[in-house]
Amino acid sequence: MRHFSHDWRRYGGPVDDSELLARLIDGDERAFVEIVTRYQPLLVRVARFYVKSDASAEDVAQDTWIAVLNGVERFEGRSSFKTWLLHILVNRARTTGAKEGRVRPIDLTWSEGTALSKRFDEGGFWREAPVPFTEVIENGMVNAPMVARVHEQIEQLPEVPRAVVTLRDVEGLSTTEVASLLDITEANVRVILHRGRSLIRSAIETTLQGGVS
């Protein structure tokens, strides 16, 4: 089941990764549980980009945790823990994917369609101006139903844009990190992001106008 949850945010924010890692090095099982709860879904999702099946992605993620347990004492904190973890994962996922003969579906012709282009007249000006999304803001934050809608929309994106939007906008990695993790150029990351964001924006707009996309 997919759902939106605030999890740890409800209780005054997350425990910092570096504190959890220090506890993990001391053999604290609760710290391990907290870290895997935080990152395992992301690992499986990113691994799935490289390997043939969900089961295979879960195996790769599990191997990654073994590597983390073996190597965490050597983690020097020069990158964030998340970046370090994802690089371990992707190295393993690439090897597994290559063994499986997986062909990654890089389709850069993917586009958001003509929904947005129809909004402009022959001169390239808006036929009808976009309206600010003020009604989805509650207490300075985007409200939960809209976040759920955005989540749905991300899930419906084709594989490559889904991976790009997830890593960049959901996980907050830099464009450079995303390009490196997914083996695509930064220019392509930017193009894909532009299209993905614009598609999600259109979905929010349609929802606010009471339509179904």
């Binding site: 099982e29 895997v36 709860t37 395992q40 879904p41 992301l42 390239g124 309206v131 999304f133 532009h194």
Partner: protein, 84 residues
């Protein structure tokens, strides 16, 4: 002779917005876009919509870990700890 770029129309402006909010536009394109935005409320609203879209994506949480997956990983941790 330096060729001056033509002024952007809205449809061209929106194509630059994603890079603009990420700060990855070239200085030249940023200037062109900002010049357009200064006179275009519609595109300014679009920029805000894209910012809000990104903010909403940043609030998406992944699926929770299933109890079975958590148990498998916890077992892995216990075996690792026993062996070291």
């Amino acid at each position: 002779m330096r060729v001056l770029p033509h002024a952007l129309v809205c449809q061209e402006a929106v194509d630059l917005v994603s890079d603009y909010v990420d700060g990855t536009l070239s200085r030249r394109d940023r200037r062109r876009l900002e010049k357009h935005l200064a006179n275009c409320d519609a595109c300014t609203a679009y920029v805000e919509q894209i910012r809000m879209t990104i903010a909403a994506s940043g609030m998406v949480r992944h699926d929770d870990l299933s109890p079975e997956a958590l148990e498998t990983l916890t077992d892995l941790f216990r075996r690792f700890n026993d062996e070291r």
